[in-house]
Structure formats: structure tokens, C-alpha cells
């Protein structure tokens, strides 16, 4: 459960509510009403998913996604036990929660077979696999196939990367996953089209479920700013794990032009350097960004918060934001958790036209700017800050869209999918047994 952080914001409650969930309600019944508890246990659907992915405290987008998804689904299944099979490097010690029941050592092939055996021998009835080539071991993460080959339970793969121009090995892996998984989930329509056209995945196996966003009700940015002590500033922000592909330097370069018209703008860069990037190049990207800020003499107008932020911190900063910017550089990016969160908070969004942004910001839900173009960013941000009606229209459209993608809706979509997959799997097993 996410709790409000004490003292940080004293007049605005923008903690993300998770209390009163069904799971807790039923647990509460346990000691007080055994008859009703027993009745519910008998009649409510049970489903035991295992999530194979990275998991907090690992700091990456997929780990956060897995925690959000598994805890959202669990709220609807009070009598089921979710399990996490966490992927990690062999020599790293991660103080996982108890929900992590098995660990896969990323570069150890046998570990994938052991994980499959663990699941096969357990009461787990469906596997939700989060896929991104880099989180699995072997060339292009091909050990994931060893796991799926050995798995006897039905699997649903959620794809966090769908490359338009894969290497031959990446294409082979994706196609094999398509064969071995019952369903592949992508988060936007375009992702499904690529799966069908580029990889030849069976259309019946490819489905769309949006990226989840926290359940945030809107509060005025002004009230949150006051609580944060930045009442007189207009806030631009970008958050997430920082790496070169984020294109943050182009927003910084756009700042002088923005400040000419709006001298009270502050650009917040929220988040630490991606741990994987830090290992290889340290803080060189962030240093380059701060050098640019110093060179332009805009230290007061660009602030960095070099930490991995909690959900509540993120939501608080997002609520205080006037314009959220994703200036990413890779056209192929098929999902962005941070952009999804900004939609969920109903923000005016400015983004480069990578695939995910192009689709979710269509129909007036955001504004697209050219790649690597400080001028385009500055002009668009200035327009939004100048035109109140435009800003409010963007915010309303974003929020309406984001609401459909609230985690509790996405959890229902996944549960529905899990049920169908399990039913089909059992029917298939019965058919095979009948044929014998």
C-alpha cells in the first residue's frame, strides 16, 4: 500500500489511493465472519498467476510495471496467491518482498529451466511474462525461449519492445515466443500491426491492453505548487531513468527561447541515471546536461532531482507540472511508462513523435514536436503556456484517455485474458487426453 509521505505536502492530498481494496476487505472479514468468508472463498474465482520479470528493488521500468500489474490484479483475487519469478544478475543481492518465490539468474541457462520446473510443479495456473530483449540472458535474451520450451503452463507475454527493424536473431526469438505463448500483449495498436506484419504472428494471438496508470484524481496544479513552495513558477518536467536516448538536452537548449516569453518557467528533470547506463559510462550524460545548463546560464530554471522517485513523489511532481515533455530520440519506442503516467494525471504533453507518443497523443491528447529540435519544443511549449484554452483542452483529453488505462481497468483486462487463456489451455489438455 502506498502511503502519503509525511510533511512533504501539507495542504494537498495527492497520494495514490489503494485502500479499501477487495483483497483487504475480505481479509478483514476473516476474523469476524467465518461463514461469509467461507462462502466467498467457495464462490469467488481463483487464479494463481506467476509474473516472470524484473522486480523492485531492481530499478527499471519493467520492474515497476510488474509490481503495479501484479498488485492491481491481486486486489480482485482475494483468495489467490500471486508469485513473482524475478530475473536478476547472479551476483547481485536484491532484498525482494516475500511475493518473489523464485529467482532466475539472468546469464545462467539452467536457471531458466529450474524456474520452469518450479512453475510446472506448483499450483500456478498462468504465467505473465514481461519481455524486453535486455532483461533475459543469452544473445538478444534468447534464454527466454529455453524457459518457455520447458514450461507446461500457459503463458501470456507482454511486449515492452516491438522492433520494426529487428536483427534476424531478434526476429527469430519473437516468432518463437509467438509460437510458445498463448497470447502476446502489446500496448498500442501500432505494436500489434508490427507483430503481424514484421513477425507474422497469428492475429488471434496478438492483443492490445494499454499501459496502466495510477489512479489519480485531478487537483489544481496551483495548489500543489504552493505546497511544494514553487507557487510562482510554471513547471515543465520530464521524469524517468536518465540516459542518452531521452533527448533532455534539446529541452534544455529550448529553455532560453521559452524563458524569453515566460521567465518564470522551471524545467524539472526527475530521476536518476539508468543503473545499466551508469555502469558503463557513469554520470557522463547527466554531466553533459549540467554543463549545458551552466553554459546557458539557466541554473535557476533547470533543476535536477537525481533519485529514483517513489510513485507518490512522481504523482506530486506531475500534479504540479504545467507541461510534461518526452523529448525521446528513438522513433521505434513502442511504450513509455512515464508518458502513460502523465496521461493518467491529465497533463498537457509535448513529445517527439516516437511510435507510442504518436498513437496515444493523437486526437488532441498532446502535441508533437520534431526530433532533436529545440526550436520546435520552445514554440510548442510557449503556445501551450500562452493559450489557456489549448492547455485545458489538452489536459482534459489526456485525462479522459488515461482514465481508461487506470491500473484497476488494466488489471480487469489482464484477469479477463488470464481466465480465457487458462480455460483454453484446460480444454486443450482435455482434448489431448481424450485423443489418447
Amino acid at each position: 500500500m502506498t502511503s502519503k509521505e509525511e510533511g512533504a505536502v501539507d495542504s494537498v492530498d495527492i497520494s495514490v489511493p489503494e485502500e479499501f481494496a477487495l483483497r483487504d476487505e475480505v481479509r478483514w472479514l476473516k476474523s469476524e465472519d467465518l461463514n461469509l468468508f467461507g462462502y466467498l472463498r467457495e464462490t469467488m474465482n481463483k487464479i494463481e498467476p506467476a509474473y516472470v520479470a524484473t522486480y523492485p528493488p531492481s530499478e527499471c521500468g519493467i520492474a515497476t510495471f510488474t509490481k503495479d500489474l501484479s498488485s492491481s490484479v491481486a486486489k480482485y483475487t482475494p483468495f489467490s496467491k500471486p508469485s513473482i519469478v524475478a530475473i536478476k544478475r547472479e551476483h547481485e543481492i536484491e532484498p525482494y518482498e516475500r511475493v518473489v518465490r523464485f529467482q532466475i539468474f539472468k546469464e545462467n541457462k539452467q536457471s531458466y529451466l529450474d524456474a520452469a520446473k518450479f512453475i510446472n510443479d506448483s499450483s500456478i495456473d498462468v504465467v505473465s511474462l514481461q519481455h524486453e530483449f535486455g532483461i533475459f540472458g543469452g544473445p538478444d535474451g534468447e534464454y527466454v525461449l529455453d524457459f518457455l520450451e520447458a514450461l507446461e503452463k500457459p503463458a501470456v507475454a507482454t511486449l515492452h519492445t516491438v522492433l520494426q527493424r529487428p536483427s534476424p536473431n531478434q526476429k527469430r526469438i519473437m516468432q518463437e515466443m509467438g509460437r510458445l505463448c498463448q497470447v502476446m500483449v502489446v500496448m498500442v495498436r501500432l505494436g500489434r500491426e508490427i507483430l503481424l506484419d514484421t513477425y507474422g504472428i497469428d492475429p488471434k494471438k496478438a492483443t492490445i491492453i494499454p499501459h496502466g496508470v495510477p489512479n489519480v484524481h485531478r487537483v489544481s496544479a496551483a495548489s500543489v505548487k504552493r505546497a511544494l513552495g514553487i507557487s510562482n513558477s510554471r513547471i515543465l518536467s520530464t521524469f524517468g531513468l536518465i540516459s542518452r536516448g531521452k533527448g533532455i538536452e534539446y529541452v534544455i537548449q529550448a529553455m532560453p527561447k521559452i524563458l524569453e516569453k515566460h521567465p518564470n518557467v522551471v524545467y524539472l528533470v526527475l530521476g536518476e541515471t539508468h543503473p545499466g547506463v551508469r555502469k558503463h559510462e557513469g554520470e557522463s550524460y547527466r554531466n553533459m546536461l549540467t554543463d549545458t545548463v551552466n553554459r546557458l546560464g539557466i541554473e535557476e530554471n533547470v533543476r535536477f532531482n537525481n533519485r529514483f522517485l517513489s510513485l507518490n513523489e512522481l504523482v506530486r511532481y506531475l500534479c504540479a507540472t504545467d507541461v510534461y515533455v518526452t523529448p525521446y530520440l528513438s522513433k521505434d519506442q513502442i511504450v513509455s511508462g512515464t508518458l502513460a503516467y502523465a496521461l493518467g494525471c491529465g497533463k498537457a504533453i509535448v513529445s517527439t513523435p516516437y511510435l507510442y507518443a504518436e498513437e496515444v497523443l493523437a486526437d488532441g491528447r498532446g502535441m508533437l514536436v520534431d526530433f532533436e529540435s529545440p526550436d520546435s519544443i520552445a514554440d510548442t511549449v510557449n503556445r501551450i503556456l500562452d493559450e489557456k484554452e489549448l492547455k485545458e483542452g489538452l489536459e482534459n483529453s489526456a485525462y479522459t484517455y488515461g482514465r481508461r488505462a487506470a491500473w484497476f481497468n488494466v488489471a480487469v483486462d489482464y484477469l479477463d485474458l488470464f481466465h480465457r487463456v487458462i480455460t483454453r489451455h484446460h480444454a486443450g489438455v482435455a482434448e489431448v487426453k481424450g485423443a489418447k
Binding site: V12, D13, F20, D24, E25, N45, S223, F408, N409, V412
Partner: protein, 144 residues
């Protein structure tokens, strides 16, 4: 017919969780209307039953049960969505009416909302009808 309109202003929970610069036009909400039909109380819900609003819904439901409403018909035809906290509130209400040998019946014709009951298996716990007349017939409230 006896009408009681529960407004935001009556809700202590919402007031206590409301930011000082609260703007009602910026927040989606749950409207709760209560009607009396014999010994049955019909609760009309409009909007969203989620973590922000379910405590108020539960509060209203428990108040009605305390006041002697043995059977409840919850009309969710105008509910946009219900999340697990809303389902939890219903289970809380069910516990309370069960102690009084009463029941809770749901009216719902929204596929998205029905789906939530279906995937959780709560459709077996709460009888669900597509229209209010059928729900009242089941509960026998019209004749009382």
C-alpha cells in the same frame, strides 16, 4: 416515493480528504441517490465507484441497513466503472445485511461493469439483473 439525495457536502470522508483548493469541476465523482420501496432501499449510483468514493458509498449503505433497510437494490446502470475497493464496499454491505437475513441485488446493464463481477466470480455472490423491475421482483420489495 421517498427521496434522499446524498450530496458531496454531506460526505465527511470526502471533505476530510479534499485539497483546500478543491475544484468540483476537475474531479469525477459518485452521486448517490436513495429511494425507498417498501422495506427495500434502492441505491442509484452514478459515476465512479473507486478508492476515492467507495468509502462514502459504504457509509451510505451501512447507514441504510442500520436504519432498517433489510434488502438493498444497488442500481449501477449509470456507473462508469467499479474497482476492487467498490467491490470491497459491497462485500462489507453484504456482511451487514447477511446478519439481518437480508440481501443485496445489483442492477447493471453496463458490459464493462458486469465484466468486473464476472471475472471476480462475485456475480455468483450478488444476483445481477439487467433492469430494476426484475431485481425488485426477486427481492419482493414491490409488494411490501
Amino acid at each position: 416515493m421517498d427521496w434522499l439525495r446524498i450530496t458531496r457536502e454531506r460526505s465527511g470522508w470526502l471533505n476530510s480528504h479534499r485539497p483546500k483548493e478543491y475544484n468540483p469541476h476537475m474531479e469525477m465523482d459518485l452521486q448517490i441517490n436513495v429511494r425507498k420501496n417498501g422495506t427495500t432501499r434502492v441505491i442509484d449510483l452514478t459515476g465512479e465507484v473507486d478508492a476515492y468514493t467507495s468509502a462514502r458509498f459504504r457509509e451510505v449503505m451501512l447507514e441504510l441497513i442500520e436504519e432498517g433497510g433489510q434488502n438493498l437494490v444497488i442500481n449501477m446502470s449509470k456507473v462508469e466503472y467499479i474497482d476492487s475497493s467498490g467491490l470491497g464496499a459491497l462485500v462489507g454491505g453484504l456482511k451487514r445485511v447477511s446478519e439481518r437475513k437480508g440481501r443485496i441485488v445489483i442492477v447493471c446493464d453496463q458490459p464493462q461493469v458486469s465484466k468486473v463481477f464476472e471475472i471476480t466470480g462475485l456475480e455468483k455472490v450478488f444476483p445481477i439483473y439487467g433492469n430494476e423491475a426484475d431485481a425488485l421482483n426477486l427481492i419482493g420489495g414491490e409488494d411490501k
